[in-house]
């Protein structure tokens, strides 16, 4: 038979200051777990939604996996179009997007700025990058750019500085912001897009970085890959876009592993908060615990009651952190090397955060409970 639920609940109010401090400590630990897990989930989600199964990227064979370093002939799109039937063609428009992609220093009108990602695109880009949606303003004309939802976060500038009509500087030229776009959480959301020809002129480049092709139902990525391997003179390679982002996932694996390690370290610190609270709570109740055994309560029942106290406090801390994380952290933009992404406090993050919180409650309560229950009842009844 277990001890009454009220016993565990009311025991938390015995030492209100200690309980409150422990609650804050546990809530802080769980909050840190939410931040780190939200970071990992956001990064994974950003990379997961960035790839389109039907899009193939063709870029320079010499650039390894870094498309920013890729340089291919401007004729590549037409060569590919003429040689392959793999791309979608609708109303006479081939869904092939030549793009020039650069990482370059971008400054806002307010003097803020940082390293931005700029993509020179043609009108076919939205046909291939199907998640991109212009949500405000117009498609860029000469000297104009459209900016992704997370560009301000990527540049570390204010959102106001990125308002439509404002100007930004890069590659020695001033560009007017003509519109804003979203991409369903994909990596493009931290990019600045402008007209390809305009960007080539500004950067004094004739080449492009890549060609993105939307495969038709009859087309296959293998066909494009075979073409690239056969035409060694073009020095091209191809990769399915999903595979490209899966590769980036692998690239960021050490970062994710490090983040998980931080979760473990932070959780470890949290256990000490729980231990401190429960050792204090149990130390003052040695005689009471012995009395409960003397009147017939089994040690298991007392152990469960003590664990219940720890878990109750941890659950309260987790709940508090969960509410704060969901309302304040969820969707917060994070600047990262690949661009920017948002912290994602999803069901998995909630589950892990609250799970860690409850685990802290259990692990924090067990050692002091075992210590108290190991003592001889007869001796403990005389404890001061």
């Amino acid at each position: 038979m277990l001890l009454p639920w009220e016993y565990g609940v009311r025991n938390l109010a015995r030492r209100p200051v200690r309980t409150a401090l422990t609650l804050v400590a546990l809530a802080t630990v769980v909050m840190l777990v939410f931040v780190v897990v939200g970071f990992i989930r956001g990064l994974e989600q950003s990379l997961a939604v960035s790839g389109d199964e039907n899009v193939v990227l063709v870029y320079s064979v010499n650039s390894e996996e870094n498309i920013e370093n890729s340089s291919i002939a401007p004729s590549s799109p037409s060569v590919l179009a003429a040689s392959l039937d793999s791309a979608v063609k609708r109303y006479g428009v081939l869904h092939v997007s030549p793009e020039l992609f650069l990482g370059t220093r971008v400054k806002t009108g307010a003097g803020e700025g940082g390293l931005g990602l700029v993509r020179g695109v043609s009108l076919t880009a939205p046909l291939v990058r199907r998640s991109v949606k212009l949500v405000e303003g117009n498609w860029p004309g000469d000297g104009e750019v459209i900016i992704g939802r997370l560009v301000a976060a990527k540049l570390g500038s204010s959102t106001d500085a990125m308002a439509i009509g404002n100007s930004i500087d890069f590659e020695g030229k001033q560009w007017r912001i003509s519109g804003r776009f979203t991409a369903g959480g994909a990596a493009y959301e931290s990019e600045i897009w402008c007209k390809l020809s305009d960007f080539q002129t500004t950067t004094k480049r004739q080449d492009i970085s890549l060609v993105a092709m939307l495969l038709s139902p009859t087309g296959s990525a293998a066909e494009v890959e075979l073409f690239c391997k056969e035409r060694t003179d073009l020095e091209l390679r191809s990769i399915r876009e999903t595979e490209y982002y899966a590769m980036l996932q692998q690239h960021y694996k050490p970062v994710r592993m490090l983040a998980w390690f931080v979760v473990v370290l932070v959780s470890g610190a949290g256990i000490f908060a729980g231990l401190n609270m429960m050792y204090g709570a149990v130390a003052g109740r040695i005689r009471e615990i012995a009395m409960l055994q003397a009147i017939g309560y089994r040690r298991r029942a007392i152990l469960i009651s003590l664990v219940q106290e720890g878990v109750l406090l941890a659950a309260a801390g987790s709940l508090l952190s969960g509410v704060i994380a969901l309302t304040l952290l969820n969707g917060m933009a994070i600047r990262f090397t690949m661009g920017a992404f948002t912290l994602r406090i999803d069901s998995v993050a909630i589950l892990i955060g609250c799970g860690v919180g409850l685990l802290l409650g259990v692990l924090g309560a067990l050692p002091p409970a075992f210590k108290a229950l190991r003592a001889e009842v007869a001796t403990s009844l005389k404890a001061v």
Binding site: M1, P4, N11, A294, Y297, A378, L381
Partner: protein, 227 residues
């Protein structure tokens, strides 16, 4: 047959290099309804004997039988169940749980029995009535006087209708007047409810309320002072 039977009970402790033998081949019979007090100087094994009878300590050798159950042979969990059903314990320092009301403190032992909520309520109310604290049921221990706290402790000890109630210095932490009230209460519970009691005290006045007084010294019973 006696309700409580101790046969050849031996118990010793190591304290540094010294071996202390608080109980040395003790025999004792306590009959149902009897009120036995146990006196003796400090460290002579009074509490040890009480702890052995209540099953919270085990003898080195010998047998302790309560109502036909050889308690020294029960496992730890079986002993807990046995205590819940058969034993009431009155402590010197009340040992009430401060976060529970008087009613909830008294109710604790009944939660271990197979009783309905109504039966539990009835038992708790009767126990509180028996100790004259029905009007303090909703009070927390901090809102009670020392004597009232001890009476709640006594109500907790009798609420499960135990076969034996053991009391370890039940008046040890009370002033003279309150001690007197508790003595009267214990005597009344023994006589009116026919509760078998074993009480440890080093106060001869308190011991005198018992129907039989025993003196323990250096591990052996001296003569029965009164029986």
């Amino acid at each position: 047959m006696a309700l409580v039977e101790l046969r050849g009970v031996f118990k010793s402790f190591r304290k540094g290099d010294e071996t202390i033998t608080p109980l040395d081949n003790i025999d004792l019979d306590i009959h149902a309804g009897e009120f036995v007090s146990l006196m003796g100087p400090s460290g002579t094994g009074k509490s040890t004997l009480l702890n052995l009878v209540s099953g919270i300590d085990r003898p080195d050798s010998g047998t302790i039988t309560v109502d036909g159950t050889e308690v020294n042979k029960l496992s730890r969990s079986k002993l807990a169940d046995w205590r819940a059903a058969n034993l009431g314990y009155i402590f010197q320092t009340h040992n009430l749980i401060p976060v529970l009301t008087a009613y909830e403190n008294v109710e604790l032992p009944t939660l271990l029995l197979k009783l309905s909520a109504a039966q539990r309520r009835q038992r708790v109310e009767l126990a509180l009535e028996a100790v004259g604290l029905s009007n303090r049921a909703d009070h927390y221990p901090r809102q009670l006087s020392g004597g009232q706290e001890q009476r709640v402790g006594i109500a907790r000890a009798i609420v499960a209708h135990p076969k034996v109630v053991v009391a370890d210095e039940p008046t040890g932490s009370l002033d003279a007047e309150t001690s007197e009230q508790v003595q009267v209460l214990l005597q009344r519970l023994n006589k009116e409810l026919n509760i078998t009691m074993l009480m440890v005290t080093h106060d001869s006045n308190v011991a005198s309320i018992a129907s039989r007084q025993l003196m323990l010294d250096r591990g052996k019973f001296l003569e029965a002072i009164r029986s």
